[in-house]
């Protein structure tokens, strides 16, 4: 349990210490730094016993909160704002662990397998749409990043869509290892996805 807290602190520290290089390009900003912050929040969810009450039955309230948090940080203008304004940057470091990672883990833990399956399918389709958008947008979506990097981010979304799809069907292809690797890849997969 202590180890989880330490891991979360290390992740947030890494995201903060390597802010410069991570935020220099949209690929590392969106596909490395943001997921690291989310993962930090997800790690401490069991420690806080967050979302154990009846209000979170089925994990719905938490998953919805995480969904809104993800939608918010998917807005190109939120990314621009975090780069231009330290208050937004601070908000990013607070909201991604505590309003996305934490509820995502607390919701996922109580979600019905069908709900989880729908979320995985939704994540794949959303990432594919983002991939199309970022590779085909005629203009720059972030004022702070170059068009060529925007295209690279689109390719990154596409790779991630394939990765989530592969991770989702892996337990079907390797049923013998489902108990151990399936669960681990599930947790890791959700951390990377959102």
């Amino acid at each position: 349990m202590r180890a989880r807290l330490a891991q979360a602190v290390v992740l947030i520290a890494v995201a903060a210490l390597f802010r410069g290089p991570l935020e220099a390009g949209p690929v590392t900003h969106v596909l490395v730094q943001l997921p690291v912050l989310v993962l930090a929040g997800a790690l401490i969810a069991p420690l806080l016993r967050f979302g154990c009450g009846d209000w979170n039955r089925g994990g719905w309230a938490c998953l919805l909160a995480a969904g809104f948090g993800i939608a918010f940080w998917m807005l190109p203008r939120s990314i621009d704002a975090a780069l231009a304004d330290t208050r937004w940057e601070a908000a990013k470091f607070l909201t991604l662990p505590f309003l996305v990672g934490l509820p995502l883990a607390a919701g996922w833990a109580r979600a019905h397998p069908l709900t989880r399956a729908v979320i995985k399918a939704q994540a794949v389709s959303m990432l594919a749409v983002m991939a199309f958008l970022y590779t085909h947008a005629p203009t720059r979506l972030c004022n702070a990043y170059l068009a060529e990097d925007q295209y690279r981010l689109g390719i990154g979304f596409l790779a991630l869509a394939f990765a989530v799809a592969a991770a989702s069907i892996a337990p079907l292809l390797f049923p013998a290892r489902q108990q151990t690797s399936g669960r681990r890849s599930g947790a890791g997969g959700s951390g990377r996805t959102f």
Binding site: D54, A61, L64, L75, R77, D80, R140, L141, N143, L146
Partner: protein, 200 residues
């Protein structure tokens, strides 16, 4: 709390936040947001002293009863600024023909004041036909540059070939010094329409 109530509360809160964060789902990007803000809020822009290509120091906005159309450039720009120069020339011709003579000032402001000396700016002006009467090229004081770019909502980033990339646009400033519209560089019709609104 009943789980349905909790979920509804989350959806309501999240919905309100997302609507707030996107100006009613109208602006998902910074560029769209700043254009919307200019059109509806018409923020006052602070006055800056700029040095023109002839070495004259003038106030921007002009504060002499004229409206202004401001664009941002750097003269070493091989691509978009050259196209922008051609668009500014077209806009100048359209405005002169459309009865705006003497009522509008067109300014191409350099965000590379270290390299864009008056000589360099004059060269750019000659190349694109900016003679300084209706349309001039100018640079701010190096110290003022961040505040100037911030006031107009312009983000300049280095590209990987020694140049810059920026959110190029036409910025319409009313005679009262308010930023009333931000338009695509080639939106000559829109600029004419917005100038009519600014000069009303």
């Amino acid at each position: 709390m009943h789980p349905l109530v909790a979920s509804l509360a989350v959806v309501l809160t999240g919905g309100v936040v997302l609507i707030q964060a996107t100006d009613g789902l109208a602006a998902l990007t910074t560029e769209r947001a700043r254009r919307l803000a200019a059109h509806t809020d018409m923020p006052a822009v602070p006055a800056f002293t700029v040095e023109t290509m002839t070495g004259k120091r003038l106030s921007l906005p002009p504060n002499d009863g004229r409206a202004a159309v401001v664009e941002f450039i750097y003269t070493n720009c091989p691509t978009i600024c050259q196209a922008a120069g051609a668009e500014m020339a077209r806009l100048r011709d359209r405005l002169t023909a459309g009865g705006f003579a003497g009522r509008v000032w067109l300014v191409s402001v350099s965000f590379d004041p270290a390299r864009d000396t008056p000589d360099q700016m004059a060269e750019y002006g000659r190349w694109h036909g900016a003679d300084g009467t209706v349309w001039t090229v100018a640079r701010p004081e190096a110290n003022d540059l961040p505040a100037l770019l911030d006031a107009y909502g312009v983000t300049v980033i280095p590209d990987r070939t020694g140049g810059f990339v920026h959110n190029a646009a036409l910025h319409v400033v009313s005679p009262e010094g308010r930023l009333t519209a931000i338009l695509d560089m080639d939106d000559i019709d829109g600029a004419e329409k917005e100038l009519k609104r600014a000069l009303r």
